[in-house]
Point group: C2
Chain length 486, copies 2
């Protein structure tokens, strides 16, 4: 007989019933090969004695084993491990590679070995980030109030059921109103898909627009995650220069004469990473080209709500009369990055197909959050928050840029950005950004090393320096640490 006294480990104060624990112990012994098929189990009396439990408990455990198909009872002989269980081969000792975990033993494709990994910012203290909002300004109390109000309503719990894959109709209606008001973008709820941030809008568009070897035009500098999405769709990236008026559409026009292009991805407002705003002239010309060459414009306007000097430019989607534009926006940057509400707007058949794909990916969004956001738009809290934070961010931008101007002009070249939450800071060649990031980190300041902004044709010694998530004393503190390390 096996040494059951030591093999069977019980926790007397566990929430799991003793007979279930005994049963699980036997399953482990069977599956790891200690107990072989047709092996006999000790009688309930013997085992009860050995492991100091009531005999009834052992009987219950054996019943469980039998009902689960692990064992069978043979009359007058006892209980045996089920004879027709296939014998699992003994576990080979697995050669230890880099890490101690054995490798998986099936075949799959890792597309992502050398891609950029996004970090968590939830545990960092002092950070010059990529251009994130200050979550201390997020009106969480108002959000909680909406949650409570919904959950107390008679029909409120219905929002916990499966909902529409396109997102809450209430939120789509509120957004249609908001987008009309702020951007002159006249759409109906059928043209809107609520997404998880602008990220999902880009992913869905790419999957529908691009087949393997299709061409998509993007900026020479570009949002690296969008580049990765397009590559993941199998597309070729054609790089178009970006200057101080945005994407060079004349260059694009020349390219179009001899290349078929399925889509053009732009961040008109403000270009990532360089913060440039695309001029109205170029916006119109791009629309004209799209009409002529029948390509889609993916307009990633995630930064629309942050424009300081004048009113922001009207989106291409608001001008478009030919349904060439897929308009992507987000509330994550204005409200809170971890509450992933964004939107994608386009021709209704396209939005319908995107919603079908979205169903395959994650079925739908969080209806409760969508309802709460709809109420925040309706009762004006959302716009009040936008206005309030815009004022605060403008002050922070001004302070940040003043300090850069007065204390860093020897090492950093930049333009005061018209909008957005970051400064595009080009460092003097003598500054090693990887080294800077490492040194700053030792002094408690988290700052990127610039690698996220580089690609195969764009390799500046530069960083986006986010000013919005820091209050005024934090800005001073962060820039002091930075200055010490230069």
């Amino acid at each position: 007989m096996l040494p059951y006294k030591s093999l069977i480990q019980l926790k007397r104060n566990s929430a799991i019933a003793l007979h279930i624990q005994i049963c699980n112990n036997f399953i482990t012994l069977i599956t790891n090969g200690t107990l072989q098929p047709t092996g006999i189990l000790p009688s309930s009396r013997v085992l009860a004695d050995l492991i100091s439990v009531n005999r009834k408990t052992v009987k219950l455990a054996y019943e469980e084993l039998i009902s689960q198909g692990w064992a069978e009872s043979v009359e007058r002989k006892g209980i045996f491990v089920f004879s027709s269980l296939p014998v699992l081969p003994e576990i080979e000792s697995i050669p230890v590679t880099g890490d101690s975990e054995p490798k998986e033993s099936f075949l799959w494709t890792n597309h992502f070995q050398n891609t950029h990994r996004s970090e968590s910012y939830q545990k960092l203290i002092l950070t010059i980030d990529d251009g994130f909002p200050d979550v201390r300004l997020t009106p969480v109390d108002q959000l909680m109030r909406e949650y409570r109000s919904i959950s107390k309503r008679f029909y409120g719990k219905n929002f916990l059921k499966y909902g529409d894959s396109k997102g809450s109709e209430h939120l789509r209606t509120a957004l249609a109103f908001y987008l009309g008001n702020t951007r002159g973008l006249v759409v109906s709820p059928e043209n809107i898909l609520i997404t998880k941030g602008s990220q999902m809008g880009i992913y869905l568009s790419a999957q529908l627009l691009l087949q393997s070897s299709d061409n998509i035009a993007v900026g020479v500098s570009n949002y690296a995650s969008a580049d990765e999405i397009f590559k993941y769709s199998g597309a070729n990236l054609l790089r178009i220069p970006i200057d101080d008026r945005g994407m060079d559409v004349d260059h694009l026009e020349q390219m179009l004469e001899h290349k078929k292009i399925k889509a053009v991805y732009i961040i008109p407002h403000h270009h990532f990473p360089t913060t440039v705003t695309m001029s109205m002239e170029r916006r119109l010309k791009l629309l004209k080209l799209a009409r002529e060459y029948r390509f889609a414009i993916i307009e990633d306007d995630y930064d629309f709500d942050f424009h300081y000097n004048n009113k922001p430019y009207v989106p291409l989607a608001s001008i478009d009369h030919n349904h060439n534009v897929i308009y992507i926006g987000s509330i994550t940057k204005t409200f809170a990055p971890a509450l992933r509400i964004g939107f994608m707007i386009g021709p209704s058949a396209f939005v319908e197909a995107a919603s079908s794909l979205r169903q395959l990916i994650d079925r739908q969004g969080d209806s409760l959050l969508e309802e709460a956001f709809a109420s925040l738009f309706e009762n004006g809290e959302m716009e009040r928050h936008f206005r309030k934070s815009l004022k605060i961010y403008e002050k922070r931008r001004n302070l940040f840029c003043e300090i850069l101007q007065s204390n860093f002009s020897d090492v950093i070249a930049f333009k005061v950005p018209e909008g957005g939450l970051a400064v595009w800071a080009v460092f003097d060649d003598k500054v090693n950004l990887a080294q800077l990031s490492e040194n700053a980190s030792k002094q408690g300041l988290h700052i990127l090393d610039g690698s996220f902004y580089k690609n195969e044709v764009f390799s500046p010694n530069a960083l986006r320096m986010g000013f919005a998530s820091l209050n005024e004393s934090e800005i001073q503190q962060a820039l002091e640490v930075l200055r010490r390390n230069l």
Copy 2:
């Protein structure tokens, strides 16, 4: 001069400043071709008179137009529409097709023209669904308490910042503990990716495992959305028979002798749609085959937490010693369908790659919700809720099956399911399910027509009939309506 008095429409009581409204009106006139490039704008005095606003307001509007690049001021001559704006071609009248909206004018691929569309259940009253939980049992108040507690903590707002794409470490730790306790599944947080429902786990696995023309084995009957995901990855579906012990692994073995198979998708517990539990013998044999032929097992165990008669069977992932299993589960069915928390468990390199893909899709989950769920697991509320609802659902299953037995035995054949939230009801051939669904709907009962369960080789006259979301009087009411229509 254009008839500005009628062309320019102002809302005096709008939240949008008058000068912005005037500016927007001009932009519309320019972009729709009414005002041509180089056209002159009326003097501010004239326009102010015409549309009854202060002259300063018109001046502000013109400044805005100029700063946005729509117009230029020529000294002593006036303000002109900017001369170098490209002329947009006149809008053609678009031929009206089925719907009144013009078609998009770019090329894209609609993979989803004939696929099943999921419905919203949020507005339905009396429903025999596919097997959904009763959201009236969801402990929303406890969730709200966790939300409040998090948002009041000093560091609580940090969960609004960008977080880890793999999901909250806190929740992954709590889940690892829970899965060990309930399923004997010993994993560390690094092996867990928090997903949006089990749906996202299937999508991510398929994208990593399957390339175009790869083979995946699935049941003859199967969860149709999983089939769609695999087809979307470009894979071939090989159909394996399902009997009363689950997937016929001997059939699979024969197939493996002459076909390369990348992955096998199973719902061991309980098969969708037929609610069969896979026997332990077949589970072990499938693991043996996976080891021998080096394929991945996608184990979709979304239904584990709902098993009534005995303890549920131990998952394949808990037995696996060779890292062949990708284990997918969900809390949406146990807590609330619209709060999309699920998990995918696998070898750490695979989970890492899935997390990179997930970053491209939607960056991350909702950190606040994940933290709240972690606390609900930790303080035992989650398990209390599971236990409580399991008891209620068992009663509902019993009542539902008794009524089916006594009042429907002439038209419905079924077995009492050992677990899950639905009965697999095979209807007599004389019943037309589409007609039944339509008629019932007129009498206030929503019931599916069975098309979701069919595929190219499986076409029973059958339905899943969910009993869990209805209380006892609703079950009686729903089945009465159904009976009347048979």
